[in-house]
């Protein structure tokens, strides 16, 4: 019985009207060699290219293959790999596309293939991969000296080295995966204003009452320690955050400790009084001062407050920030024991247990933390 139904359903309709729609039926299954690889990495990608090269001596459809391969590079994670790009250029047959007379050279000989190579070089440029002399030789053998891809290669080799190291803050080519290393790089970048900054990495386990077990990267210079020591005790300090800083494509959140701006010093000395003239600065015998200059001219003093320290924590939660304050106090900042600190976190990252509705929370350091 089932057999009978199967034979009916298997009959293809021979009606002429339906025949027109038959072209939407796929009789040929498209075989995507990039899809069914179990592990997507450089080796399997190069394997697919080798299979294509070995399959047909004439390399039919190599342009389409190269475009498909370019689109799949990100999946396989090889978009920053020069060898892979070279392997793709190897797919193109050598010697066939070189123009032999002046007309061929003038009117882009084999335009589709030349455009394909230009698109490959464009993708290299977008990913920041610099080509090398071997690639120039390959392009020369494929397209000849007058080819468009070779011109693009020359332009890349002129401009890319000029733009590669323009950034004044050095970042390694491959950013570290570890969040602690990233945070260290970020804090170094932010505090590069003051070369005296000391970056310290602490663990919150040093504080007994800490709930969050994480690392804290903190940057503070001696100038900032002095500024902190001079802060009025009854005025609260504010922790502002979380702010974002980008390291190429990675994002690091950091917090700043802001204090009040120092008051202007009122200089009431009467300059016409000659009874007591002091020795001017600059004459030998007067070595230096460890006090702050009277006019606010340090880089940490800004219009909206004095930046006293910067930190990045593993989990950007309020608890880890509290640990940061305690750790700062432990390491050369005894003033923090007495000064109140206000937290202004807009969206607490991991504090689900605390039912706090308003964004600002005042935590006086004198009060013991309840669990």
């Amino acid at each position: 019985m089932a057999n009978f139904f199967r034979t009916i359903l298997r009959q293809r309709p021979t009606n002429l009207l339906i025949k027109r729609w038959e072209t939407t039926e796929k009789r040929v299954i498209v075989h995507d060699p990039f899809d069914n690889k179990p592990k997507k990495n450089k080796e399997s990608y190069l394997q697919v290219i080798k299979i294509f090269e070995g399959r047909d001596q004439r390399r039919r459809g190599h342009v389409e293959f190269i475009y498909a391969a370019l689109g799949r590079m990100k999946e396989f994670g090889v978009h920053r790999d020069l060898e892979v790009y070279k392997a793709l250029i190897e797919v193109l047959p050598k010697g066939k596309f070189i123009p032999t007379n002046i007309f061929q050279a003038e009117f882009m000989h084999y335009p589709k293939q030349q455009q394909c190579a230009v698109d490959l070089l464009e993708q290299m440029e977008n990913n920041g991969v610099m080509p090398d002399i071997e690639m120039e030789q390959m392009l020369l053998n494929t397209y000849g000296r007058r080819g468009i891809p070779l011109r693009k290669y020359w332009r890349m080799m002129y401009w890319m080295p000029k733009f590669k190291n323009l950034s004044p803050w050095f970042l390694p080519d491959k950013l570290p995966d570890d969040t602690l290393e990233l945070a260290k790089l970020a804090i170094q970048r932010i505090t590069s204003v003051d070369p005296d900054t000391k970056i310290s990495i602490w663990q919150t386990e040093e504080i007994e009452a800490a709930l969050d077990k994480t690392w804290v990267v903190s940057g503070q210079s001696r100038l900032q320690q002095l500024l902190l020591a001079k802060q009025p005790i009854d005025e609260p300090l504010v922790i502002k955050g979380p702010y974002n800083v980008y390291l190429r494509d990675q994002n690091v959140t950091y917090f700043t400790l802001l204090g009040k701006i120092r008051d202007e010093e009122k200089d009431n000395t009467d300059w016409d009084d000659v009874s007591k003239i002091e020795k001017p600065i600059g004459i030998p015998g007067f070595i230096g001062k460890t006090t702050l200059p009277s006019i606010k001219c340090t880089v940490h003093e800004q219009d909206d407050g004095t930046v006293l320290a910067i930190c990045a924590t593993g989990s950007s939660s309020r608890d880890s920030l509290l640990s940061w304050i305690r750790l700062l106090e432990k390491h050369d900042n005894p003033v923090l024991a007495n000064v109140p600190v206000i937290f202004t976190l807009i969206a607490p990252a991991t504090d689900i247990s605390l039912l706090e509705k308003h964004p600002t929370v005042q935590d006086d350091d004198n009060i013991d933390r309840a669990g």
Binding site: R151, W159, S167, I190, S192, K240, N244, Y246, R248, N251
Partner: protein
């Protein structure tokens, strides 16, 4: 406006490409000044011949921004002539003053760097703008305090990019195929 009372250029860059077959790249945001005018709405140009440096005080988020100085001319080939330079921001709460001499700006047309590079003609400047297009998804935020011009007497470089003599018909004026890089 930012909370600190300065101008804030912010937004969210998204590099997802709309699937309509035509667009190849996406994720770009820019702003530009209006062209100055003489009386009766005639277009005029800035004359910056007495200056040689651009000064900008910003507070960024670590991303790189493009400073674009547009020098449209009279003919339509040059209408898209923009001189670019990449401004790398430090990030962090500290303000950053960047001084960029005009000799370092690179000529590009519609984003493509030209082969024949020339120094920016300072009496033909029409607009100034800032763009963000560094190909990473995410929020971008640039606070600008001021943009100014300065004359730096110690800077005597005429132009930073050499132009080698190449064979005829190899280098072209408007159809270069290298785009502006932000790394």
């Amino acid at each position: 406006m930012s909370p600190a009372g300065r101008a804030s250029f912010h937004g969210y860059l998204d590099t997802r490409i709309p699937k309509d077959g035509r667009i190849k790249k996406s994720g770009y945001c820019s702003m530009r000044s209006k062209r100055i005018r003489k009386s009766f709405k005639r277009d005029a140009t800035y004359d910056w011949n007495i200056y040689n440096t651009l000064v900008i005080k910003v507070r960024g988020d670590g991303r790189s921004y493009l400073l674009n100085i547009s020098c449209e001319g009279y003919y339509d080939i040059t209408w898209n002539d923009i001189y670019h330079y990449v401004l790398y921001t430090r990030g962090g709460p500290y303000w950053q003053i960047a001084k960029i001499p005009f000799s370092k700006f690179v000529l590009g047309s519609k984003g493509r760097l030209q082969d024949k590079q020339t120094r920016m003609q300072l009496d033909r400047v029409t607009n100034f703008g800032i763009a963000c297009g560094d190909r990473f998804d995410g929020v971008f935020n640039l606070e600008i305090e001021y943009v100014g011009l300065e004359y730096d007497p110690t800077h005597d470089e005429d132009f930073a990019y050499e132009m080698y003599k190449t064979e005829k018909f190899i280098t072209k004026k408007t159809m270069s195929s290298v785009s502006v890089q932000n790394q």
